[in-house]
């Protein structure tokens, strides 16, 4: 039997025994049900009608707003109990004036010359209001085309793209913002996954010590096999559960249109998945190392505090990167294994990452994972037979048992 075989046996046992527990089944079902309910229920209940405040600069905006009111009315046409959203126009004479009002929140968007729409910031996938305005502008264009007997090609041209260009106050290009939004969404998902499943790795590695089966196992397994197999098993199962949850949420969102989802760019999603797995792995191993120091689950919790701090810190660092992807700090944290999984997908999405940097970051992180498994295994074997008490890091490292 080779080393990998031994590890794989541990992994298989882990997945089989965990998937068999009632707790796992209940939590899986509950998560899916809750997520679906959280997404579907609000759309069934319906939104209350509100009055949108639209800024207007230049000519040609009124027709769009009028059309927008018709679009809004059409949306609730089959729900007689509900009222359609209203629209109110505020005229501005200069772009500065309009920008100030937008910043202050006096208006939600500013239409400019019937050609573009200025928003304060790009929300998650844009706001429903912008969507309504786009539809309205499209309708207005079509009416114009029909009135002027234009060729069919122009009609197709109008239909195939958003009629209004979206700009934000900062002036950033909305496609980049959309990519940033995807990266940002991925970031949050990873953060949630790390925190919820890191704990499973943490308490999981104390299991063998706690029920004292470890001595029997280590008579035939090497510590890295046991540790690696456990982390892999817990990780794969966690990933599967998490993926199922995300897919259910995604499908529910698509079906209900509760949130306007950005179009997914394959390369960006690919990078996101790669770094999700890398990030998940490195934090799982980190949590497992903390667990190796403890002999009981309660102790593991306190040993894990520094790991949670690292995850939180990396998460917040990535916000800085989101707004400033080219800064020196952003470059540095690209090559730190614990922050890279949070930072690299964001920089990649914003186009601030070179291929060389990207490859280097992957290598650094993978090496760190391998190194961490070895360190964790050493701590694990060192602290192993001191069952029933917490092991000091230095003792475990030296292997005094």
């Amino acid at each position: 039997m080779t080393g990998w075989n031994g590890m794989w046996l541990v992994t298989k046992r882990e997945i089989r025994e965990r998937a068999r527990t009632k707790g796992f089944l209940i939590s899986s079902i509950l998560t899916v049900v809750l997520i679906t309910a959280a997404i579907v229920l609000p759309t069934v209940a319906g939104d209350a009608a509100e009055t949108h405040r639209i800024g207007s600069l230049g000519a040609g905006n009124e027709a769009i707003v009028t059309a927008a009111a018709e679009v809004a009315a059409a949306e609730v046409a089959d729900q007689p109990a509900e009222e359609a959203d209203g629209f109110e126009i505020f005229n501005f004479s200069s772009r500065e004036e309009a920008a100030l009002a937008l910043q202050a929140g006096e208006v939600e968007v500013v239409l400019i010359d019937g050609e573009s729409v200025l928003v304060a910031t790009e929300g998650f996938g844009g706001t429903p209001l912008v969507g309504t305005l786009q539809q309205a502008a499209g309708a207005v264009r079509l009416q114009e085309l029909v009135a002027s007997n234009e060729e069919a090609a122009s009609v197709i041209d109008v239909l195939s793209r958003d009629p209004l260009a979206v700009t934000t106050l900062a002036g950033e290009d909305s496609a980049a913002a959309e990519r940033g939004t995807i990266a940002y969404g991925g970031l949050i998902l990873m953060y949630i996954a790390v925190l919820s499943y890191g704990n499973a790795a943490l308490t999981g590695v104390t299991e063998e010590k706690n029920n004292r089966v470890v001595e029997v196992l280590l008579a035939t397994l090497k510590p890295w096999q046991l540790l690696g197999g456990k982390v892999l098993g817990i990780g794969l199962l966690g990933l599967a559960q998490f993926a199922a949850t995300v897919i259910v949420a995604f499908v529910a969102l698509r079906a209900t249109n509760a949130l306007e989802l950005p179009d997914l760019d394959a390369s960006i999603v690919g990078v996101l998945v790669l770094w999700f797995v890398l990030g998940f792995s490195i934090f799982s191993v980190l949590y497992a190392a903390a667990g190796a120091l403890a002999s009981r689950p309660e102790e593991a919790q306190s040993a894990s505090l520094p790991m949670t701090m690292i995850a939180v810190l990396a998460f917040f660092l990535s916000f800085g990167v989101l707004s400033n992807p080219d800064s020196t700090l952003s470059r540095i944290v690209t090559f730190i294994p614990f922050t890279a999984p949070f930072v690299v997908p964001v920089r990649n999405a914003l186009g601030a990452l070179t291929l060389v940097e990207h490859v280097l970051a992957v290598i650094v992180t993978v090496l760190a994972i391998i190194l961490l498994i070895r360190v964790a295994a050493r701590i694990y074997s060192g602290g192993l037979l001191s069952i029933g008490r917490r092991v000091k890091l230095r003792e475990a490292w030296r292997g005094t048992n």
């Binding site: 039997m1 031994g6 046996l9 046992r13 025994e17 527990t21 299991e207 029920n211 004292r212 089966v213 470890v214 001595e215 029997v216 196992l217 280590l218 008579a219 035939t220 397994l221 090497k222 192993l384 037979l385 069952i387 292997g399 005094t400 048992n401």
Partner: protein, 294 residues
């Protein structure tokens, strides 16, 4: 043959093993005896690489012990433990697989072992649903699953009822008869005397006696003499009357030097016609043990 030579292990200032040397032969059972804290568990763990010795060598069939060898060993540690929520059959198969067995072979062996221990009806039960004694049986089955060439068991009999002791003793004897080297530690010296051909007695990390049980007993400088006299008059024993160590009614127990010629004494005592019982034996293993570790 398991050969442990010059094993030394210290924990800070505490010397756990000090030039510990003994052997265990295939086809035989070795009782590993010693007071609490004498180093038995440390020595047994060292065989499985669970303790790194400071000095000394451990070999199996003249080769250093590595992963390959340990695949063919069986171990029942002092700190018992298996997965409480895992079905007992599954645990045995898992441990068999870890020892390099195919799923089928491990499955067959697990069933056979559980049948031996009378647990055929419980194969799908998680371990925690079993009684303490049955859990211990499963623990032994875990050590036996790979049909080991070397079996090392740390206090396998502790906590078992007499029936459990009997079954476990039989199973171990069978394994020894099939050619396995069996090493186990125990404080139940009568049991060791019944089961084992060989013993090793450890005291403060050092082996003070090692060899065949009978030889060690023969080598003792004392013998026991037990007499029952009809009239209870000890004066008939003549000079031996000072060697009486215990008297219960008409029964006397005496300790005599091994080199004392008892034949004249025997004929003299018999001549009085008062002797109902006359037993002359080597000391029990318990006595050898107490004397060795004193």
């Amino acid at each position: 043959m398991l050969s442990i030579k010059g094993l030394r292990k210290t924990y800070g200032d505490v010397v756990a093993l000090d030039d510990c040397t003994f052997r265990a032969e295939p086809g035989r059972m070795l009782g590993f005896l010693g007071p609490n804290g004498a180093g038995k568990t440390t020595a047994m763990r060292a065989v499985f690489g669970l303790v790194e010795q400071d000095a000394g060598t451990i070999t199996w069939r003249d080769a250093p012990i590595g992963f390959e060898q340990r695949q063919r060993f069986g171990y029942m540690p002092e700190t018992r433990g298996l997965y409480p929520k895992m079905r007992i059959h599954d645990q045995l198969v898992y441990l068999g697989r870890l020892h390099g067995m195919s799923a089928r072979a491990a499955g067959d062996e697990a069933e056979a072992l559980l049948a031996t221990f009378g647990l055929s009806e419980r194969t799908r039960d998680p371990l925690e649903k079993l009684s303490h004694g049955n859990q211990q049986r499963v623990q032994l089955a875990a050590a036996l699953i790979n049909r080991p060439e070397l079996l090392v068991l740390d206090e396998p009999f502790s906590g078992l009822d007499p029936i459990g002791v009997e079954t476990m003793g039989q199973v171990l004897r069978e394994r020894a008869r099939d050619g396995a080297a069996v090493v186990f530690s125990s404080h139940q010296l009568d049991l060791v005397e019944d089961l084992c051909e060989d013993v090793a007695i450890i005291r403060q990390g050092y082996i003070v006696r090692q060899g065949e049980v009978d030889q060690i007993k023969d080598a003792s400088p004392v013998r026991h003499l037990e007499l029952e006299l009809a009239d209870g008059d000890v004066r008939q024993l003549g000079e031996l009357s000072d060697r009486v160590v215990e008297q219960v009614g008409n029964r006397y127990r005496l300790m005599v030097p091994a080199d004392l010629d008892i034949r004249p004494l025997m004929s003299g005592a018999l001549a009085t016609g008062q002797v109902r019982r006359f037993i002359y034996t080597t000391p029990s293993l318990s006595e050898i043990f107490l004397e060795a570790v004193a």
